[in-house]
Symmetry: D2
Subunit: 109 residues, 4 copies
């Protein structure tokens, strides 16, 4: 299939979207939701751009690099925020975000 060349980046985007969606839900169930507000805010955007990036790569779009460049920025910001929190869902999400940021940056280069 045409998308094979983007496979590792597509996979990183899909995994990151799942972790972000899941992390946002878990953050909303924390005792101190206010402390997680920035995390929730970025998780939403990160999940959305990751899914778009995966779709554009799968379509072989000439705009996939442009999307991946922004996706790398958002993943970095989201991962940095998640990394500040000790909850397991945040720590695992941070890893998925940082991995996706690096895949997307390489793709956009």
């Amino acid at each position: 299939m045409e998308f094979e060349k983007y496979k590792s980046c597509i996979e990183a985007c899909n995994v990151c979207a799942v972790y972000c969606d899941s992390c946002a839900t878990a953050c909303l169930q924390e005792d101190d939701v206010k402390m997680m507000a920035e995390c929730i805010r970025l998780d939403r955007q990160c999940a959305q751009i990751c899914r778009l990036a995966a779709s554009f790569m799968a379509q072989g779009s000439e705009y996939a690099k442009d999307i991946c460049r922004i996706c790398a920025d958002i993943c970095k910001a989201c991962g940095d925020e998640c990394a500040k929190h000790d909850a397991e869902h945040c720590q695992e999400c941070a890893k998925a975000c940082h991995h996706c940021a690096s895949e997307c940056a390489a793709m956009a280069a």
Copy 2:
């Protein structure tokens, strides 16, 4: 993470979305595009509902089953249409669709 229980269904949805997006692009490059029109039409819808289903499961949504029920129907229809065409992208997409249809049907049950 919370989403572990849906892991195989989420993964099937993500993979199916990628195959459908990619198959639609490949269909548009075929010599006889008209013959692929129904395939392209269903690929678009299938990729969209698969991404929504993955997101709702990752969020632990109480509506995930409802979405998976429709997703199973669309994946079945899309897989059946793809299976009619000999092109490799259609045959592989058909497999991804039928696998996802069965994962989503099990999830919705």
Copy 3:
């Protein structure tokens, strides 16, 4: 255009998605975020299903009714939750959700 027959429902979905996305952000900036957690949780899902419903109607999909049926349920739940909160963003979002619920229910009938 083909989508004219769904015009009022598509418009209601688009408007509802915008109010839900905006309401979630505003909720995250409230002093008592914990009180808004359920609202944020439903806003996310509501915005997503509304955008999918609008897209499926615009595509003239045979699955548009199925999606609108679920969309009506989610809009109703989200509107009911928003209506409990006095903040202007919640009150306006509740109106957009309840209007969209009624448009989608009519469409699905």
Copy 4:
């Protein structure tokens, strides 16, 4: 509501997404689908980025400008392609795309 300042751009994005989704379906029903292949290909991407742009503006995202910049490019390309075809759905879609391109360019400036 917070999103009032982006209102005309959000509306242009929502309208453009609907026209693109609808145009793609209509293109797939044309006698000469092959002639419409590039139009269908761009319609898909344009509808997707428009919906993301609308959502990011509604959320008040700090990345909304970045998304609108790409959205302007894709809308321009899609509108230029649609404008080449005489079918009413293409001509109307071209107008919606070009209007959205100009709104997004202004937003990103």
